[in-house]
Amino acid sequence: MTVIIGCGNLLRSDDGVGPLLIRRLWELGPPPGVRLADGGTAGMDVAFQIDGATELIIVDACRTGAPPGTIFEVPGEEVETPPLTAINLHDFRWDHAIAFGRWLLKDRFPRKVTVFLIEAASLEPGMGLSPAVQEAMERLAADLVRRLGRDERVG
């Protein structure tokens, strides 16, 4: 089973792209064997959502200075942040969740983790995506459905 988790805060404009992509995938109809989760701004619960997945895909917004709407595809091991000791429940992000999930699930941890990051234009308080991010979200949603709909896996 593939689990796709969209993370971010709907109330901070483009930071909501993760949860909104989950909603879009739901509308498009996820391929069989795919479970969707709106991770929102939960921390540790992202890790609990991973259980049972052979493959994990995380989607979030980022701020790197690239043009807004740029989509980065990052292998999970590149963004995991061990050690686990510097975690606070209220500042627990998906990178912690991956590390935490690895500890929690041990040999049940997914064999493959991929993180998609979409460059945000605005993180101001407010709801709704900027045009470039909206377009990137649509593109990634269609791409995920296409890729996961075939037997060959994302990567």
């Binding site: 805060n9 989760a37 701004t41 939960a42 209220h90 407010g126």
Partner: protein, 545 residues
């Protein structure tokens, strides 16, 4: 916890606690230390929260979508009070089933929070090397060290269970919007109820009784006084050696019963409604319909809670002016912090206050200890919770870090019992929703008790749109700044008088901040009060290296 220490020469210093959170913003606690004792404290919230601005002019139901996203930890509580704000504004009818499901969901979120907060946040600090000479230290480290402790994993993993019940009814947790004016958006089946019961029983057996209490829920809830608790401790080895037994013994050994008292004045807005007595939600009838009661304790006397007596003083907050206003009249006009600092403003948080009968405006502590003190008020109706234990403990021992934590943990047993009852009361053949009439004008008030304390929304609807929406969170009650009279907020008060063993690593201040479980990541900055030199800075939350 990482301390970037600066050499200390003087005997007086400031400690600054800073928080960084993606969701809720940051909290800096700046503490002045003189001769190893905290002499002053300032809580500074460093992020502007704009929900009220986001909501203005939107559809009245936007609060159901927006407020559960305020927090990644207690979104269910936000939904619960947001829906009651609309129920009261639209004068809806809520069928008993919907009230039961809302209660179940709210309580399950708190049941999740209790072990997760204890093991993943609070107990880690108890393994700090400062305590390595304590007799019980080795046992504490063996059980509660992060990731390796014998209780840590079971505590953290079991914490995910109650919100599975939430998801059965709410579709997802966190950030569900399944509670709507007039009821809930779900049609549970018998198998949903039986699955929920089995999840709840798993929580009870695996963690609550098996690891935490070392006895049955019923046995623990027989305790009515601190003496009863001490007798319980000696009654059986299983009690002494449970995580709760160990926690009490360790607190008494390392002195967590001696500091962090706070204001000693408490506020509960109450939560969980009697399904028949809140069919027609309204502000006036709210107190009488509550199961977990609302109330105010001023240190000597109890008062009925009245939402009309709530004020927000923004004299020291980065908002224009210096008034103290009821949330219906609330203003959210931010000023540039650089300008604000010239007017002695130092935080983005307003200072919530409560006007006692007689006109005095006071700060009040919100949270589990507040709820449990209010639960001790005599005169409860048959359907209301009466529980004298914590009022007795506060009167016998005085409040402290230990007592605040015990109150939070105590609720796991109480809420387990309530959820178990409510699950058996759902009538699957009856309605879960009654479509309301959407009134174009109105005022509503909805409140609940999140894990962290009293949480409320005030909504004003005009021409079918939100005219004004104000949220006061429990964290705001606890981390609020000074008011126009110069009186400190609860956490500022709790810091005063704490003895810091090592000013370069003031773990004691972390315990105080964490005992309030504010939904902010705190960073503490220690300053020499004479030289104003920063001595230490550490983030509250993670455990000792």
């Amino acid at each position: 916890m990482s301390a970037n220490s600066v050499g200390t020469q003087g005997a007086k210093m400031d400690v600054h606690v800073h928080a960084l959170g993606r969701v809720e913003g940051d909290l800096d606690v700046r503490v002045a230390i003189e001769d190893g004792v905290v002499v002053d404290a300032w809580t500074e919230a460093t992020m502007f929260r704009g929900f009220e601005i986001i909501l203005k002019g939107k559809d009245p139901q936007a609060g159901l979508i927006v407020t559960p996203r305020i927090c990644g930890i207690c979104g269910g509580s936000h939904l619960y009070k947001a829906v009651y704000a609309l129920d009261t504004a639209w004068q809806t009818e809520v069928p008993p089933n919907a009230t039961l499901i809302r209660n179940i969901a709210q309580a399950c979120e708190t049941l999740q929070s209790i072990p997760r907060w204890f093991y993943a946040l609070f107990a880690i600090g108890l393994t700090h090397r400062n305590y390595s000479r304590a007799k019980l230290y080795e046992e504490v480290a063996r059980r509660w060290a992060p990731f390796t402790g014998t209780s840590y994993e079971v505590g953290v993993v079991t914490s995910a269970k109650p919100v599975e019940i939430y998801a059965i009814f709410g579709g997802q947790w966190p950030h569900s919007s399944f509670m709507v004016p007039g009821g809930v958006m779900c049609g549970p089946t018998l198998s949903d109820i039986t699955r929920s019961i089995s999840i709840l029983e798993y929580y009870r057996e695996t963690w609550l009784e098996g690891v935490w209490l070392g006895c049955s829920v019923d046995r623990w809830l027989e305790n009515e006084t601190w003496d009863d608790v001490l007798r319980w401790l000696d009654e059986k080895p299983q009690h002494r050696d449970s995580d709760l037994g160990l926690f009490i013994r360790y607190c008494l050994e390392i002195g967590l019963d001696k500091y962090g008292a706070g204001p000693g004045r408490y506020l509960a807005m109450g939560t969980y409604f009697h399904p028949e007595k809140y069919r027609y939600p309204n502000i006036e009838g709210r107190n009488a319909a509550l199961i977990s009661r609302a109330g105010v304790y001023d240190g000597e006397d109890f008062h009925d809670f009245e939402q009309a007596r709530v004020r927000e003083d923004h004299t020291h907050s980065f908002f224009r002016g210096s008034a103290s206003l009821h949330p219906f009249e609330g203003v959210t006009e931010p000023v540039d912090p650089a300008e604000g600092k010239k007017q002695d403003k130092y935080t983005w948080a307003k200072a919530p206050r409560y006007m006692l009968p007689g006109g005095e405006e006071v700060s009040l502590e919100a949270g589990p200890l507040a709820r449990q003190v209010i639960a001790g008020r005599p005169g409860a109706e048959p359907w209301q919770d009466y529980d004298p234990l914590f009022l007795n403990i506060v009167r016998e021992l005085g409040p402290s870090v230990m007592v605040r934590v015990l109150a939070r943990m105590h609720e796991a047993a109480k809420y387990y019992r309530l959820v178990r009852q409510w699950l058996s009361q759902v009538d699957l053949n009856e309605k879960f929703y009654i479509k309301p009439q959407e009134l174009p004008e109105g005022r509503g008030f909805g409140a609940t008790e999140a894990a962290r304390g009293a949480l409320a929304d005030w909504i004003q609807i005009k021409d079918g749109k939100i005219e004004n929406y104000q949220v006061i969170t429990p964290t705001a009650w606890n981390i609020g700044p000074r008011d126009r009279h110069g009186n400190r907020g609860p956490i500022e008060t709790a810091m005063i008088g704490a003895t810091v063993l090592n000013p370069e690593d003031p773990v004691e201040l972390a315990h105080i901040a964490q005992s309030y479980d504010s939904c902010l990541v705190c960073t503490v900055h220690a300053y020499d009060a004479r030289t104003h030199k920063e001595l230490a800075r550490f983030t509250v939350g993670p455990g000792a290296p």
